[in-house]
């Protein structure tokens, strides 16, 4: 662990169920055993127990990333940020999906002003696949009266490269949501702090190559490109 990680660990130590007498020793052992904060926060309960952390302490460590995720979701709902570029949404999805060790499919619902008003998990799978339930996506988009839908899923493996299934899924979801009047604007693949917008690059997509991905949601750009959703 580096100095910054060790400083955060030191702040957490009083809450990990370690007696005051052993705290210094356990803190040192943790900093040697785990190479970074992420590794500590995602460590198995067994390895935390081995390092001297109580069951309650392990729960606290495992809670930090999900609690941060929930808090960020709440912040987006409260602030309703305008997501008028792929870059803004890509960053939001990265912050939201990056630590998950299983594949999750998440949708962002936008209003007519491109304000993000809901961020929802649609499905989660094992470490390597997340079934996309079209019916559930359609239900959410219609129930929430979304003007636009943007979806994202994470690749816990760390590579943004899309599989053929990812591309097929993107087209199927786009066809379905477009026909319901709640168009799918983009489908991102997120891996760590990187994201790949799929729709903009698909040869079969009517918008492929027509506009700059970073101004994808910008109305004037869409008007210039003559695109209607």
């Amino acid at each position: 662990m580096n100095l910054e990680d060790m400083s955060v660990l030191h702040r957490l130590m009083p809450y990990l169920g370690v007696s005051e007498k052993k705290r210094e020793q356990v803190e040192e052992a943790l900093s040697l055993r785990f190479s970074c904060m992420e590794e500590l926060l995602l460590a198995s309960r067994a390895s935390l127990a081995e390092a001297g952390i109580s069951e309650g302490g392990a729960v606290l460590l495992h809670l930090i990333l999900p609690a941060t995720r929930a808090a960020r979701r709440g912040r987006y709902m409260r602030e309703r940020p305008v997501c008028d570029s792929a870059e803004k949404l890509g960053e939001i999805f990265c912050a939201f999906l990056r630590h998950l060790t299983e594949e999750h499919v998440t949708v962002a619902l936008l209003d007519e002003e491109f304000r993000l008003f809901r961020l929802l998990d649609v499905s989660s799978g094992t470490a390597t696949s997340a079934p996309v339930v079209l019916r559930r996506l359609a239900e959410i988009a219609l129930r929430e009266n979304a003007a636009f839908v943007v979806m994202a899923h994470n690749h816990p493996g760390g590579e943004t490269k899309a599989s053929p299934e990812d591309l097929d899924t993107t087209l199927a979801v786009k066809r379905c949501l477009d026909s319901l009047g709640t168009p799918l604007l983009e489908h991102f693949v997120v891996a760590e702090d990187r994201y790949l917008p799929l729709l903009i690059g698909m040869p079969s997509s009517p918008i492929c190559g027509k506009i700059n991905p970073l101004s994808f949601y910008d109305r004037s750009a869409r008007q210039r490109a003559g695109l209607e959703y």
Partner: protein, 240 residues
Amino acid sequence: MAEETAFRQGHRQRVRARFIAEGVDRWEDYRIVELLLFSAIPRRDVKDIAHRMVARFGDLDGILSASPEELCSVEGVGVGVAELLCAVYPAALAAERVSSRPRLFHAKRLSAYLTDRLERTGSYRPVLLMFNNRYELLGEKELPANSITAAGITVRCMVEELLSVGATAAVIGIPTRREVLVPSSEELAVCRELAELFELLDVSLSDCVLVRRDRSLFLSAVDERFSRLAQKKRGLEYES
């Protein structure tokens, strides 16, 4: 009094068990705050405090972004609680920095790692590389025999290692001196069996690699049956 304490302990156990089973994605904010408070307030009912904090700061983000002084202005919140809540975002941000563990998701990188290892250690014993699902190397275990097909190789010791580090993927490196880099039928049979067994435990045996000092060979490239087993899940990247 003793009954009340036992009830509270039972409640805490139930909430923690619920968190372990289902996560917090569908939880209301006050429940998440309550679970955080368990670590800072050992023997008191904390639900009311959690509700008061949500009422005061609006939501979980408001609570985790508040200053210690603001937090302490809520009835029932002391310095200990404030310090814990103020440490949550910094811990998450520290975790968001890029990991320092080697990531070997690409076949070329993995091959280079194994040949370097052979060069460095000079050991010709098979090695089990254990990964999380970001293909970060969690650890490696040298197997106690000179060949993957030897009697000393026990599946049990491999599984124990994989589970103890929480691995979701594995690769077996098989160092060799043979001139023609071709796996034996026994090696292929063992690797297929291991892939099937690991799959049952939700660990993906992504590949087995014959390693010589100058080059390596991925068994998935030469054995279709093993390749099918190894490639069931999205695994290593093989393209240049």
